[in-house]
Symmetry: C2
Subunit: 309 residues, 2 copies
């Protein structure tokens, strides 16, 4: 069996020991952090979106693709509760792509950037010599908010496991128009201390597994409390969809129980936050099904290198 994306990424991370003073956060989080001087630091993320994989240009507009490519990186900024600063976008174009389509893409990029004060400051336009499919790669810079960037590895036994919004069924269209949770993340870290956070890009079961693995803990999820999206309710298995489908771009986070109690009392945002489980010391993920039965929860989300396992 070939290795997963996480295993390869882990191997990459081990090849070089980065000096922590200059590179406080390296490979394996939603963004990497680079210290510049006097406590000033910047974070960076990069996301490549491929036609046929992350969108389908037979049905999606280029405006939607531009929006999504920026929103995916903005969601990474949110995942660490950082403030978006600027983005660059590189595109690989099919033959005869044309100016009109480039401008439509550009408008989509700006429509997302404008919302979050994250301008497009540069890019690269290139074309497949012998024709090829459309590809876009957005890289984005952010800076820490009032609290340090929230990482994946900070979950503690006893923490509440929570999500923003509702999950599943993103493929029905929401994956092209979702709202990255930039404001919600910064609002939360302004109110309480979060121990771990990431954005849900590959599905709850896969992404929670990352937090558990990196934090050296396990989790017990309560199926009945998972907020299932209206889109997921249209699927044959709404709960399965909410747990395993990718591209929700909601936030998955953990925090001490007393912090959770405080947060839910003061939370007045239209975007709901929901406790869906707790962090446990077993190093395993389990889920209490609606009938009370406890089952192992396997990471079944989207796996880029093994498609649909």
């Amino acid at each position: 069996m070939s290795p997963t994306e996480d295993e390869i990424t882990g191997w990459f991370a081990e090849q070089r020991q980065l000096p922590r003073a200059t590179y406080p956060i390296g490979i394996g989080d939603d963004m990497a952090q680079i210290a510049l001087s006097d406590g000033v630091s910047v974070l960076i993320t990069t996301d490549m979106l491929l036609d046929g994989t992350h969108f389908d240009l037979r049905t999606a507009t280029l405006h939607q693709v531009g929006y999504k490519s920026m929103a995916a990186s903005l969601s990474d900024c949110a995942a660490m509760a950082t403030i978006p600063l600027a983005a660059v976008a590189a595109v690989g174009l099919p033959r005869d792509f044309g100016e009109r389509r480039l401008k439509e893409l550009h408008e989509g990029i700006l429509s997302a950037g404008d919302k979050y004060d994250c301008p497009l400051v540069g890019g690269d336009i290139t074309a497949w010599q012998n024709d090829g499919p459309f590809v876009i790669c957005v890289s984005m810079l952010s800076k820490p908010g009032n609290s340090p960037p929230v990482r994946r590895n900070g979950a503690r036994v006893g923490d509440a496991v929570c999500v923003t919004g509702s999950l599943g069924g993103s493929g029905r269209g929401r994956h092209l128009s979702f709202e990255p949770r930039v404001r919600e993340a910064l609002k939360m870290t302004g109110l309480v201390t979060l121990n771990a956070m990431m954005d849900l890009s590959d599905g709850l079961s896969s992404d929670l597994n990352r937090i558990c693995h990196q934090s050296g803990v396990g989790a017990l999820i309560d199926a009945a409390s998972i907020p299932i999206s209206e889109d997921a309710k249209l699927e044959r298995g709404p709960l399965w969809a909410a747990i395993n489908e990718g591209e929700d771009f909601e936030l998955l986070f953990t925090l001490g129980m007393e912090q959770w109690d405080r947060l839910r009392r003061v939370w007045d945002d239209p975007v709901p936050i929901t406790k869906i489980g707790i962090i446990v010391d077993t190093r395993q993920m389990q889920i209490r099904m609606p009938d009370g039965q406890i089952k192992d929860l396997e990471p079944h989300g989207y796996e880029h290198l093994q498609r649909g396992t």
Copy 2:
């Protein structure tokens, strides 16, 4: 006739007025600059390399491709005389790409990064759902050296027009193994004041045209003084190759004549620097041919959107 990459990039740059205090350098230079606080700033560049366009995986190794993808961005850092800080790499993989090939690519990336203290701090691995060609996008951060970043728009009438190294014939192999001129750029700005600079990625005639256009000046190039590479001498038209072929990744720069006199006197580097012409006030590019005849110099370098015009 469809617009050139420069025309489209120019149109993009006009769509939003970026506040200069936060974004001192935006679209249109080799890197964009973002001010963080208290005089601390960071620069960013992004480069997408496509199989069949920027390399050919039927003949190039993945180690070479990894090296080139980093070196191209390092060359952008050099182009503004800035210090490389960190890189992220995103890849789009053909079906069944495999772990071994990913690791070979990774080694190539590190081989370039190690040379210039520019670690890989993050990335994104994704695969074409319905198969597709290999694509890699490297984004890189740098910081200013002891002098402000050297831009494209600072050339002044009377400046010497100069290049590092020798030009042309890069396609014979050098485009996969070139040495980005990071050290040379920083060494030059430590010795003298450069007025304009960029790296030669699309060919001298195209890239000089960019400096002229952005600086509102013209140039008169002396064909006899252009350093023609050994590779270009193997081509049918060595001078044409040196002027119009892309991917030399040498530096093209202008500086006041007295600064040039000082620089060439003290320059003891193994990488040669050569004066090839002067900046003039005509807003046109011309070239004095070896027979003394003066001809208009048209930008005939690599045009990504119109291939080979």
